[in-house]
Point group: C2
Chain length 363, copies 2
């Protein structure tokens, strides 16, 4: 059967060679006589898989040695609680930038838990059509950390720079842009990301944490949310999400095979440019995001007419261009063009957009 | 390639028809044009899968309507914290039975979190070779709940009865015996289980909770651990571990196809009887568990000589009988014979045990 172009914001497309490899060894992995799904997480076969996953990711992202790589469960949403539980004891307070729904949820979670947290900048009044400018003087000098969401999936915005926080650890949710391009990990205290957008199926959460930040955990916190415990046990304090980690390993391997994150960025930039250039060249569709905040992964646009938007998503779906409907909280359209989306998918989308515009003149 | 008999305690064997079906539709699921791994969790295709999983499990376990079924992440170990966070506000204290390592961890986690918890019974002094007798008068009358681990994977013990706790909610970790036989869910306040022993690959945690127990959550607790929030959002407060839930659905479907949990129990009992009858018929191997506490899922035995035990596990592995080494904390051997272990696997194990005994006489 024909595979569709799936523009879902997450879970989202996986590279076809990765899926084919996974299918081919699903029942029996190598000489093991069993599926990866059936392996004891403490078996040599599985230990090789999880170690390879870490080694490959370290190579891919050029992760410095003084950072731990953790493969956890619970999604980025669990990290919204884990971040303050692990870090706020450093000084007792923390600062947040609210640039969209998920960074807002992270802020609210810390508030709900009773912590002294402050929103130092937000673009809520502009419908999150750009990310705030963040400078060092905006941050409370005694903040335990500054939390940001680096790419805002729902709005299609992204920081075009890494905020300079000086000595204050920068904690960033990279769920929707992780491994889409090279990034200087050393500029961050903690990076975390749900896997289901650009790394693997849903069910794995990546945490990359600088070692000196492992020492502030609330002693009464749930052990499973403690980064230090997970680091000391190489993500195996309990049974990890073994198969999802294996899938992530296949994805890392695929990117390394293509040439790494420099090549990945080039490919992603080419896709995004194609779509943004088209959007900028016409006036049927409106791209609401300010140019300096445009995401390379999630491209949002509207016709300006809610009925037409609905018709667009529905007809696109019938044409094999799936999940183009914008997030239920904002409407319009969103094309998520993660690593696994082929260039041809964006070409097909633009062809459809042209056809739709021609067939559906605005009143 | 030949599949082995995998006696791992978890992750563990999955039914071959389930693996084959998963492999056949991994790249493209039905008419969807995509893998289940790539589906938006809010798409109609995926919503049908998660709903089917719940409907099938409800049918399989005969779950009463006043219980919620949650598909979560984090493993049973996360529930060790979630249980007190969700329930202890009922009265401010809770009681625990410590019948092995995991129930001990659950108790310690609640202690670490600063709660008033009491261990009302333990068989630690007997090396956990049986489960304690628990009667209603042992429980503090104002306990929020009584926590037990129903089947102790490491020691190979299981309750042969459901403790009568009167009005006090019984909370039970069923990770290693869930869906191995029919059980009266209405006797429990909460049942939870990691998936990776008898239900699915690692990465999903099942929680079955009586609705009236959803109202005691600590208001400052991590939202992702709140059963109520998860129940109100049909396990989709954030992205669930979609593919693992799909695998669980295939397993539920497989058991329903065999005839349900009555048939499953019959098959499991037959396998366990074969092995225990052999153990009772000879004196080369010793089965340390008291007869009235024997687990149908995890069968432990030793030769009485640590070197021979080691040799046994190693040679068995070479003969295609994998992961028979006992847990690193207790040594000896353990055969985990979950639902997916064929009868032939147990026959092959006994044949090997006889041969090994003949070839390795004790001094």
């Amino acid at each position: 059967m024909n595979r569709v172009f799936n523009f879902s914001a997450g879970p989202s497309m996986l590279p076809l060679p990765v899926l084919e490899k996974a299918a081919s060894e699903l029942v029996c992995y190598g000489e093991s006589g069993m599926s990866v799904m059936e392996m004891s997480h403490r078996s040599p076969d599985y230990e090789a898989i999880i170690k390879d996953a870490e080694v490959m990711l370290r190579r891919l992202m050029n992760i410095p040695d003084n950072y731990k790589v953790l493969f956890l469960q619970g999604g980025a949403s669990t990290q919204f609680a884990a971040v303050p539980l692990n870090l706020i004891n450093r000084t007792g307070k923390a600062d947040y930038v609210v640039s969209g729904q998920f960074s807002g949820k992270a802020f609210k979670e810390a508030q709900k838990m009773g912590y002294d947290v402050k929103c130092i900048a937000t673009t809520k009044d502009d419908n999150f059509d750009h990310v705030p400018t963040v400078t060092r003087d905006m941050i409370r000098p005694d903040a335990s950390y500054l939390h940001i969401c680096f790419n805002n999936t729902i709005y299609g915005t992204k920081y075009s720079y890494i905020p300079d926080t000086g000595d204050i650890p920068l904690v960033a949710d990279l769920s929707s842009c992780i491994i889409s391009e090279p990034i200087d990990v050393s500029k961050f205290g903690v990076i975390y990301a749900g896997a289901q957008k650009n790394m693997a199926p849903a069910g794995m959460t990546l945490v990359i944490v600088r070692e000196d930040l492992l020492n502030y955990a609330d002693e009464k916190m749930p052990t499973m949310l403690e980064w230090k415990t997970m680091a000391e046990n190489d993500s195996m304090y309990n049974t990890p999400p073994c198969y999802t980690i294996y899938m992530a390993k296949l994805v890392y391997e695929w990117i390394l095979g293509l040439g790494g994150l420099d090549v990945m960025k080039e490919m992603n930039q080419k896709k995004a440019n194609l779509l943004y250039d088209y959007l900028d060249s016409q006036d049927y569709y409106i791209a609401p995001v300010k140019k300096d905040s445009r995401s390379m992964m999630n491209v949002t646009f509207v016709t300006g007419n809610a009925d037409l938007d609905k018709k667009f998503a529905s007809e696109a779906g019938k044409a094999g261009l799936k999940n183009l409907k914008g997030h239920r909280s904002v409407g319009g359209m969103r094309a998520s063009i993660y690593n696994a989306m082929p260039y041809e998918g964006v070409e097909a989308l633009i062809a459809f957009m042209k056809e739709f515009a021609a067939n559906n003149p605005k009143a």
